[in-house]
Point group: C2
């Protein structure tokens, strides 16, 4: 599949790290970040972190969770990386994909040959009602939050619109959960490593109809990081770099109520178009993709927005098994936000971590045979931010 690739590497990933995802009781987010960074540094003994790294971009969504903003210096302090310049990037659940984009800018600028990008969120110590409220700050305050809307309700509207327009079924949404839980069972870092049957998913309690408990991603603690550099420097750090060959990002209205269309996320389509064009690949070239399955309907919409299938056929795509390992494109081999978990600020870079493992043959039981081209699709809010990156093995 790599034969058709025209895109030149923008930047190269020379190492990656991920904390264990889950309920990490008794740890601060900064400590989870150290766990991720340590893995990345151990994986890359040629890197002299304090000397080589020139900038750090850290995605975090909400300072309310830990009553702690100023994430950049906070996590770099704990990781022993001062006085490296540090930025927090925030784009809601797309915060650390935004960090990757900033990292790409910084490397290409010529001012920072090696950068660290990462993400972190500590969530499980708060009451679920608090978490729901803090997450809702990523949707519109005066017209959505104030009226009691939170993300399950917003994505439920996307689901009902998709059901109405295309005949998508509750069973098809539940199948996304079944698949991603199955994949998560093969990922030792996943929050939930537990199979779920279609019956169990379908009979779980309703959160916001038609979305049930198993249609929703997990409240999770976690951190993630990547080391990026110029392609021409990659081999000084590793024999097995992964190259980012395409990247796109777009914005849309903060409020769902401002959209003409609820069944697609325009940011996903625009970001994918830009990334595909830059990479010189088409959807059929993608071997493995981590998409933003914050709710099962979001994964179905992502199949369509990314061109894995035509609009309206996302339900059929999951039903036919096209998105499982061994299908047309292996989607969310990590377990996704659904089973690996969704520490919101960490998610975008955690998706890239999974693709890094897949393209370097380190994904163990969930390895996609011969994977050469990967994609990540990270969405913030109800699609007000969307980032798509495309990766190629060396």
């Amino acid at each position: 599949m790599g034969d058709t690739v025209k895109g030149k590497p923008l930047v190269s990933i020379v190492s990656a790290g991920l904390s264990k995802f889950g309920r990490r009781t008794g740890l601060y987010g900064r400590e989870l970040f150290v766990e991720a960074v340590n893995e990345a540094f151990e994986r890359c003994p040629n890197l002299n972190p304090r000397k080589d790294i020139k900038a750090a971009f850290i995605g975090m969504m909400g300072e309310s969770f830990e009553h702690q903003g100023h994430t950049g210096p906070t996590v770099l302090d704990w990781a022993g990386l001062l006085p490296i310049q540090a930025f927090r990037t925030e784009g809601a659940c797309g915060s650390s994909a935004a960090a990757i984009r900033c990292g790409i800018f910084a490397v290409l600028s010529g001012l920072s040959d090696v950068v660290l990008v990462g993400g972190v969120e500590k969530m499980t110590h708060r009451a679920t009602s608090d978490v729901t409220e803090y997450l809702a700050m990523a949707c519109d305050f005066p017209f959505e939050q104030w009226n009691g809307l939170t993300f399950p309700g917003l994505f439920a509207m996307v689901a009902t619109a998709h059901m109405h327009k295309y005949g998508t079924t509750e069973e098809q949404m539940a199948m996304v959960a079944v698949k991603n839980h199955h994949h998560g069972c093969m990922n030792p870092k996943a929050h939930m490593q537990k199979e779920v049957s279609l019956e169990k998913a379908m009979s779980s309690r309703v959160i916001a109809w038609p979305l049930k408990l198993y249609d929703c991603s997990l409240i999770t603690d976690g951190a993630s990081c990547l080391i990026l550099t110029k392609p021409e420097l990659a081999k000084t750090f590793t024999d097995t770099p992964v190259h980012i060959i395409g990247s796109g990002q777009a914005s849309d209205t903060i409020g769902l109520y401002e959209r003409n269309e609820y069944t697609t996320l325009n940011v996903g389509r625009l970001a994918a178009e830009e990334a595909y064009r830059m990479a010189g690949v088409t959807p059929s070239n993608i071997d493995a993709a981590e998409v933003h399955d914050c709710f099962t309907i979001a994964e179905i919409v992502a199949y369509e927005d990314l061109g894995f299938c035509k609009p309206g056929l996302g339900g059929q795509f999951i039903e036919e098994g096209q998105s499982q390992i061994g299908g047309k494109v292996a989607v969310c081999t990590s377990g996704g936000l659904k089973a690996k978990g969704h520490p919101v600020g960490a998610t975008g870079v955690a998706q890239a971590y999974e693709i890094y493992l897949q393209l370097t043959g380190q994904a163990a039981k969930r390895q996609v045979a011969g994977a050469e081209i990967g994609l990540t699709h990270n969405v913030g809010g109800l699609g007000a931010t969307g980032v798509v990156n495309i990766y190629k093995r060396d």
Copy 2:
């Protein structure tokens, strides 16, 4: 003074906008942002915003103020700039200087020839106790916030250390307030356009000894923006660009308790060193500087960290009138955070806006005659983030 400059322009500022600073009752932050953007667009009729601008970086410190995160798309939505990619950058009170840095990276990357950088914060609708709590999220949670420390207390420790080590006096700190209020009287966009006498400042109520009411900057609403581009494109947009010729940023411990030294902010020194080196200028070349006078002691420390005077002589520097308009270097001609106001996320870019006015001869009553080289010094938290930029007129 420009004769000695060796630095080449990194990027050029081709337009700038600032909302009126103050108590902007009944407006959301996004509406203040539109006010700033409209000024920048009116100032630059050759710019076709939706077509030319390729990325936006928006500094905002706290989602708690308006219960609204996801600032990038929120403000771009209101400004009619969708679907341009948008990032929120957060570095506490240095959030929008961080946005400038990201904008520099984006322009130099070759991926985004024209970028919008800005900042916004809406604060005055919240109770002062809430504001103090939200701001405190930029210092360390487990060891500072939890023990009741907030920023007035933290900067009071800096002040007492400076008094103890160098003999700096309460009167010298109050003189900073007198000067900046005097400058603010000449800035129609300043929050407080009111002279304050030394006696009044000295007799104002104690907030955290030795800091009194007039030693503290203002809780203010406001927004700011700049349009940046490659130097070679600048003249297609304006006849009077201002060039950024040096830029530096550094990080330090999130907690003051982790420092060996309380009388200097290491990030200011490191960022300035980098910026001076890149620009090929020395402190004596600086005609106008906007420094981070969140408390009067912080301006005195800034004089020393930026090399305007030797360590320990900051108190003498203000006492001798060296930092007023007509002195050795005109510091905070806008009125500074002290009198213009400190809508935290907007401050870094608002400082650059003032320097843009000074270097294009648009500063009216507060114009520094013949200003050629300017500097901004923006600090986040208790100096966990520091950014210094150096500017040159065309």
